[in-house]
Point group: C2
Chain length 326, copies 2
């Protein structure tokens, strides 16, 4: 379903309006709907963009893809209560992508969610969930504070499935495949490299394939994963500006920490040009940019991002806002 590619690369993004309209109509079975609940790049909070989170709706099911702080509230705006969530997919363990999990688990408990919930994530997701559940113990025991109320097990129905590079799983008729991306760069063979993986996800629905990069730098594995996908939901940052802002916001930061953060931002994220290059090499049908950090639409520097993507990719794309639907 590759859309009409404009020969005028610099204006290609203008044609993207066709994409959300199709999905919002919900007319085509099996395509599902992808809603960008939170499009900001964490961990700095923004007045206009919620922390990273997405909602995938397909076949009567509701799935979260990353769960930054505020995911429960953003889901509520999409008309989906926490108890309706069927599964959660976590890309990596940075807290800007996971902190909202506590709200999902807690509010599900308080609203007497009966259905099981499976949490898919990278290695050590189990420990994340175990910690949250341990912290919930007092609140769950006190529960509604009613005399004589029967105890409720807040761990009931919560299942974790840890995934590693190349793993694939069927979820309600959707094939979900992960690859390890380049958001972490621990030395090959090191203990940390063995323990941790940052994942990108591919969701093969009956009528559409959607790839979500999570956070990543340039990565052959992600290009392979995204090959021929209908929709690429991709992270992007204005990396020099983000470094500049990070330094300005942390005047007293130790030099070693500052250097580590600069390395991280430079090597573990995608610039607009790299987004376009990834989309072209993978041959995807359309691109939705999220995890955005940079000049906003009403600021002078914004159009440059669109120009840089369009110079490297001649398909349709846009930079998503919170609550956009595709």
């Amino acid at each position: 379903m590759r859309a009409l590619a404009s020969i005028f690369a610099a204006t290609a993004y203008l044609s993207l309006s066709a994409i959300p309209a199709t999905a919002q109509d919900g007319a085509r079975d099996g395509e599902g709907t992808w809603i960008t609940l939170g499009t900001g790049a964490g961990p700095v909070t923004s007045s206009t963009r919620s922390q990273p989170a997405n909602l995938l709706r397909f076949g009567g099911h509701d799935y979260l893809v990353d769960v930054g702080d505020g995911t429960a509230g953003q889901s509520g705006k999409a008309g989906v209560q926490t108890k309706a969530i069927d599964a959660i997919f976590i890309s990596h363990l940075h807290f800007d992508h996971t902190a909202g999990l506590t709200g999902i688990l807690g509010l599900r408990f308080q609203t007497s969610a009966g259905d099981p919930l499976t949490i898919y994530g990278p290695p050590e997701t189990q420990q994340l969930v175990d910690g949250i559940l341990a912290g919930m113990e007092p609140g769950a025991t006190a529960n509604y504070g009613v005399a004589g109320a029967a105890p409720v097990d807040h761990r009931s129905g919560i299942r974790v499935v840890e995934m590693r590079d190349g793993d694939s799983v069927d979820v309600d008729g959707m094939t979900v495949t992960v690859r390890e991306n380049s958001h972490y760069s621990f030395p090959v063979g090191s203990e940390l490299a063995a323990r941790f993986e940052s994942l990108s996800y591919r969701f093969d629905l009956p009528g559409r394939s959607i790839v979500y990069t999570g956070d990543t730098g340039p990565s052959d594995a992600v290009e392979e994963l995204a090959s021929g996908a209908d929709l690429l939901v991709v992270e992007m940052m204005d990396i020099p500006l983000t470094i500049e802002r990070m330094i300005a916001a942390n005047p007293g930061i130790p030099e070693a920490v500052s250097q580590a953060m600069q390395s991280h931002l430079s090597e573990h994220h995608l610039s607009p040009t790299q987004v376009g290059e990834l989309a072209t090499r993978a041959g995807v049908g359309s691109v939705v940019v999220t995890h955005f950090s940079g000049w906003e639409k009403n600021q002078p520097g914004h159009m440059r991002y669109l120009q840089e993507i369009a110079a490297a990719y001649d398909g349709p794309f846009l930079i998503a806002d919170d609550m956009d639907s595709f």
Copy 2:
């Protein structure tokens, strides 16, 4: 600083507009500013109101008072990053009031917050925080995924102070006092009654006294705590409507659970009339209603709430929206 009390009780709420203007100006030293970050009643999420959370700004410090899901993002809208938070006050361990704590701790870590953070809360707050910190272990160990980066202790500087009925503590020149309210009603002498307390807070600033009820039913202790306060920030629900919605949203809920939730909603929360009665008995100067569940401003049933409060209290009041400032 009791404001002009209208003799026309039914229209008294109209005079409240003077309150936020004064506080927003920030002209009077020692009064601080109270910002309602999240005014919805959890655990059901709303498209217009974030989960319970407040920001108290005083003397160059930023404090959170309850931390529902989305608190980090709402704080960002107020221009306050998570690393700037000096202390957190938690009223009780229901997850709609605590789930955002994970985001505050996580995003502070990721933004290299150097200053300590004290978390004040009811008994067993330590276990809540310990669980969250245990869950953060993998993410903090992977950290930014940079080869050779020095490990950072994500527990460093995080301190918990558990408080019980009648406790008082000085925080940066502000006296903070708590009373146990009636949000829980475990049998006197039971193990659960000994373990758990739901707290209301009084903040005595040099120039203003602010009482935050948290969640509570009618309570002599809260009336005492609020006695003569300049500002009462009080929970309120349309209890019959909330029960009706709860039943409608849970068609298959076991009868015992339904009964427990109905008892909880009826006895552990305040109706509009009860809000007015509390305000009058305590003799407070003004009232800000939060933790709202009911018909919204543009819906027919809303004005009745104002009428019922005004019939019981002749001072100024309003039902706050998210991000209101007092």
